[in-house]
């Protein structure tokens, strides 16, 4: 029992010190309250491409190009998500819907266009929940 308590203490001390330091450091540094997700413009460029291909009627090409977005979005998750998990979730939901629409056996142009627009809107302002 003593050992367990010792272990808990040994874990709690650095965690407390770290937290204390973090609180101190961020309080000195009046960072903006609303934590955005940083610069998502590279992702928006890819979606703009996908939208252009879909508008021309090339849904197959759009589905291919959107995999670049998917890879980039997945790769960026460890970095982006902690910045604001709620915002990240809004984009992720819109992303899932858009990917699903593009990957249907016979994709509907109207549905694809709608979901891509929603996704672009989320990338522009992720504070809005997905429509």
């Amino acid at each position: 029992m003593k050992q367990i308590l010792l272990a808990i203490l040994l874990i709690a001390v650095p965690v407390a010190a770290f937290t204390g330091f973090q609180v101190y450091a961020t309080s000195k540094n009046t960072a903006p309250a609303a934590a955005g997700l940083g610069d998502l413009s590279s992702l928006k460029i890819i979606i703009a491409d996908v939208q252009a291909l879909a508008a021309k009627g090339d849904l197959a090409g759009a589905a291919k190009r959107v995999t670049d977005f998917e890879s980039a979005w997945d790769q960026g998750e460890p970095a982006i998500r902690p910045l604001n998990p709620t915002f990240w979730g809004n984009i992720d939901g819109a992303s899932d819907a858009a990917l699903k629409a593009l990957r249907e056996p016979t994709p509907s142009a109207a549905k694809v266009e709608k979901n891509l627009s929603s996704l672009m809107a989320e990338l522009t302002d992720p504070s809005k929940p997905a429509s």
Binding site: A7, P14, D74, Q75
Partner: protein, 260 residues
């Protein structure tokens, strides 16, 4: 500790390595590589999370069969199993979170319970949790089950902490590093039990290594060094292989099984 001697008077060997600085070094690298390789396999190879998980799990099963056939510590076999567990453990947790939308709090608690139950059953069965006396298949089974759950728990707990507290890679790495150092000091100076310290630190090396892997591989606009998952995985793989070859040739890390 008295050496275990079998009825025909041959000494029994521990089937897992001695816990030395080398051990922790490779362990950290195996963890880091597991994180970046899992990312690479599921994202870059485009197989998707589910397929990748199934394929890697099958390979892990084969590696564990090979490991269980060994009757002493064989570095290549042991560390292959550890690297694969690192990859599969990461993939499983990612599957639960991404495909099944299980919250990280739930996975963290579930794996903590699974690990605790494993230790309980292990202790009830063997009367010792010593990692210096893994010389039967049954003890090996408990050991590897515990290793698997420490990886799963380390992944879930690490992701949970990083996410809830919005820590960047460097900050998260520093936090986990500090706790590991604290526990180590406790072991060396405050008589913290060696086996307890070992398993706690073992769990924590998972998020520490993962933070380090992300720091190296993630793009610079997200706070990483932008090396990419391929290069990072390759660097660590080469280093691990080199150290394993060195260990194999020098027979480092072997020990006779201790009493218990």
């Amino acid at each position: 500790m008295p050496t275990i001697v079998t009825p025909d008077d041959r000494p029994r060997y521990n089937r897992v390595p001695k816990v030395t600085a080398d051990f922790w070094l490779i362990k950290l690298m195996a963890v880091t590589m597991g994180e970046t390789a899992a990312d690479y396999l599921s994202v870059q190879m485009g197989l998707g999370l589910t397929t990748t998980s199934l394929v890697m799990s099958a390979i892990l099963a084969a590696a564990l069969v090979w490991q269980f056939l060994q009757t002493r510590y064989v570095p290549a076999s042991y560390w292959l199993a550890v690297v694969l567990i690192s990859i599969v453990g990461t993939l499983i947790t990612d599957n639960l979170v991404d495909n099944f939308h299980v919250p990280l709090v739930v996975t963290t608690v579930a794996f903590a319970i699974a690990l605790a139950v494993t230790f309980l059953l292990w202790f009830l069965s063997e009367r010792t949790l010593s990692i210096h006396s893994i010389f039967t298949t049954r003890r090996g089974a408990f050991y590897w089950l515990a290793i698997l759950f420490t990886f799963a728990l380390g992944t879930a707990a690490g992701d949970l902490v990083s996410e809830k507290f919005a820590l960047g890679y460097l900050a998260a790495g520093i936090l986990f590093g500090m706790v590991i150092v604290s526990l180590s000091l406790g072991y060396f100076f405050l008589k913290l039990d060696g086996i307890l310290a070992f398993w706690l630190i073992y769990i924590l090396t998972r998020p520490l290594g993962a933070s380090f892997g992300d720091l190296l591989s993630q793009p610079t606009q997200y706070g990483g060094l932008g090396l990419g998952t391929v290069i990072t995985s390759a660097i660590f793989l080469v280093t691990i292989v080199a150290i394993v070859i060195y260990m194999s040739l020098r027979h480092e890390g072997e020990e006779l099984a201790g009493g218990g």
